[in-house]
Structures are given as structure tokens and as C-alpha cells.
């Protein structure tokens, strides 16, 4: 583990049922930097994120947060960790029965003793940050997908998290809004010293915001390094991913036909 790593992943192997989705992942997340985990759909990047935010139990391997074994966290330590992190899920994950302002106020009301008016202003600040000023009384159902995503980010930022996890920030966003979101993530890192972990398959965004890039393939870390190091990689799979080249046709036609023709 490097001295300035806030999180260290050591030998993480993960399963869904009997299917292995992560294979012996070893990765350090540097403090106050943006780490982008990228790879093709189904490569295990969202599963890795679920481990890091404590939504999936680690059965093999270890995670360390500030050098402490995450698997050994008791209830209090987990609570403290949850207060330190913010998560933007792909869907935005807002409460549909609440206005945007109420959505952002929930964690502040639960975790702090701040006055209602202070919380109200904080919520408005967070909405302004993500470009949603004036939408505080809107319900999530009244917003476009991209706006819901930004509102989800505002909620993830409610507690001024030390570590921000972002799952596919650009999905569903137009290029201009996506670029604004990228800029905001970098600004949050620079202004608040936030550690940001982004999962994405958007190459342009990844290279723009990352201090460190991890390329995952079939549950393994294929390449790890700075954007320049990844660009210079000669690994054929990294090159294929960066050039957006389609796979070679590998379908076994005879077994495919056999399967189609087999009686149900």
C-alpha cells in the first residue's frame, strides 16, 4: 500500500453464486485524487464499486480503509465510514416521493444536528453546484434522466464526503452536461481535496478527469497507471478497448445451431 492510499484492495475475489466476477484484484486508491475504473460492460467494475461502498460482502481478499481492515469494521466504524462517503448510483437513486431539496436534506437530517434552515441552504448550494438551481421543489419524476442524475450527485455531495463514488456519471447525459459534470468532479477534488472513484466506460471523460486509471477486463486488472501510461500500453486488450475495436467473430456456429434446433 502506498503511503497516501486511502483505500487498498488486496486480493479481492468476488462471486455471484458460483460465477467468479472479480479475480484477485489488487489496487490502491490514492487520497485526494480521481481514480477511474474502466472497462467493457460486464467486466466487474460495478461489482468492485459495490465492495468499496460496503454493499457487497468480501468473502475472499481484503479491503483496507486508512490502513484499517474494512472487513473487521464494527457497526460504529461502518457508520463513520458511511458518513465519510457519498455515492452516485447509475440511476441517481432518489426518493421519488420527495422533492429534490428533501432528497438532499435527508442525510443531513439523519447524520447531523444542523438547523433546518442551515440544511435548506446547504441543499440549495448543492443543487446549484450541479446546475439545478430553481429545481429544489421539483419531484424526481418531473425531471429528465440527466437531471435526475445531477440531482443524485447533489445528494451524494450532501455531507461533503471525503470519498465520492460515482457509477457511470455520463450515462444518459448530453455531451455538454457530461462535460460540466467532469469539470465539477475535478473542481471538487481540487477544492475540497475529495478522493473520487469513478466507474465508467466513457474513454474521453476517463482520460480527462483521471489521475489514475485502472482498466478491468473479465474481472481482472488489465492495466493500472496514469492516463499517459495507459495510453502508452501495448497490451492488445487495452489497445482494443482504447481504439473501440469490436471483438473478432468467435461464435461457435455449430453449437449455436445445435442449441437452436434442440427440442425444448
Amino acid at each position: 500500500m502506498a503511503a497516501d492510499d486511502i483505500i487498498e484492495i488486496r486480493g479481492l475475489t468476488s462471486f455471484y453464486g458460483r460465477r467468479k466476477v472479480l479475480h484477485d484484484i489488487r489496487l490502491g486508491i490514492p487520497r485526494n485524487g480521481v481514480t477511474v475504473i474502466m472497462g467493457r460492460s460486464g467486466c466487474g467494475k460495478t461489482t468492485l464499486l459495490r465492495h468499496l461502498i460496503g454493499l457487497k460482502q468480501t468473502s475472499r481478499g481484503q479491503l483496507f480503509v486508512d490502513g484499517q481492515d474494512f472487513g473487521a469494521f464494527g457497526e460504529d466504524a461502518l457508520k463513520r465510514y458511511r458518513r465519510r462517503i457519498g455515492v452516485l448510483f447509475q440511476s441517481g437513486a432518489l426518493f421519488n416521493s420527495m422533492t429534490l431539496r428533501e432528497n438532499i436534506s435527508v442525510p443531513l437530517g439523519v447524520h447531523t444536528k444542523l438547523a433546518d434552515e442551515t440544511i435548506r441552504i446547504m441543499a440549495l448550494i448543492k443543487l446549484h453546484l450541479v446546475g439545478l438551481s430553481g429545481f429544489d421543489n421539483y419531484m424526481p419524476s418531473q425531471l429528465s434522466g440527466g437531471m435526475r442524475k445531477r440531482a443524485g450527485l447533489a445528494r451524494a455531495l450532501a455531507m461533503d464526503p471525503e470519498i465520492l463514488f460515482v457509477d457511470e456519471p455520463s450515462s444518459g447525459l448530453d455531451p455538454i452536461t457530461a462535460a460540466g459534470l467532469d469539470r465539477l468532479l475535478v473542481e471538487l477534488k481540487e477544492t475540497l481535496g475529495m478522493t473520487i472513484i469513478v466507474v465508467t466506460h466513457e474513454l474521453e471523460s476517463a482520460f480527462l478527469i483521471a489521475d489514475q486509471l485502472a482498466v478491468l477486463d473479465e474481472g481482472r486488472v488489465l492495466a493500472l497507471g496514469s492516463p499517459d501510461e495507459i495510453r502508452a500500453s501495448t497490451d492488445p486488450k487495452v489497445v482494443q478497448f482504447l481504439r473501440r475495436e469490436a471483438d473478432q467473430e468467435e461464435t461457435d456456429h455449430s453449437s449455436y445451431l445445435e442449441g437452436l434446433l434442440r427440442a425444448g
Binding site: L108, H111, T112, K113, L114, A115, E117, T118, I119, I121, M122, I125, K126, H128, L129, M159, D160, E187, L188, E190, T191, L192
Partner: protein, 109 residues
Amino acid sequence: MKLSVEKSGVGQALVRIVGNLDMDTVPEARKQLFRLLGARGPSSLEVDFSSIASMDTSAVAMMVELLRILSATGRRLRLTGLRGDQQRLFSLARLNQAFGINHDTRESS
């Protein structure tokens, strides 16, 4: 967090805050500041940030509350002694102009 009040002139008060001004300490700081602004409060309030070790957006929100209360009654709020990181927090919230803080967020720390 410790908050002390000095009179710096007729109708003027200077508040010094020492320690962290964050979600854990803002409720207490707010209580003390609101008490100060109550009946016969100062016509001008200066908040000295130079001894604040760390702060978060709850501190910014509380300053917005103070600004609103003071400006609604024709009184003044002045923030002084802000370090670069504190200025950047106001800039991030796009509130630097409201508080007369001139800071370019593109500056590095």
C-alpha cells in the same frame, strides 16, 4: 470550536472562531452567533476566519444565514482572514461575490 466576541468599535463586533467549523460544530456556533445578533446586536459584524482549522459547506450555509439576517436589517457582514482553501469553498458554492471574496477557483492550492 471556540467562538469569542470582541467589540471593535461603536456598534461593531468582531467574532473570532478557533478550531473546526463543520457539521459537528456549526449548530453551536450558530446558536452563539444568533444570540449575538439578537436585540441590540451590532450594526456591523466581522467574522475572522484566520484561526479556523477546517470548514465545510455547513459553515458557508451558516454565513449565508448571517448575511441574510444582517442585510435584511441594514447591517453589514464582513468575512476576513480567509485562507485560499476557505476562499475556494465559497467560490465552489458560487458565493464569493455575495461575500466580496475575489478568488479564482482555477488557482491551484
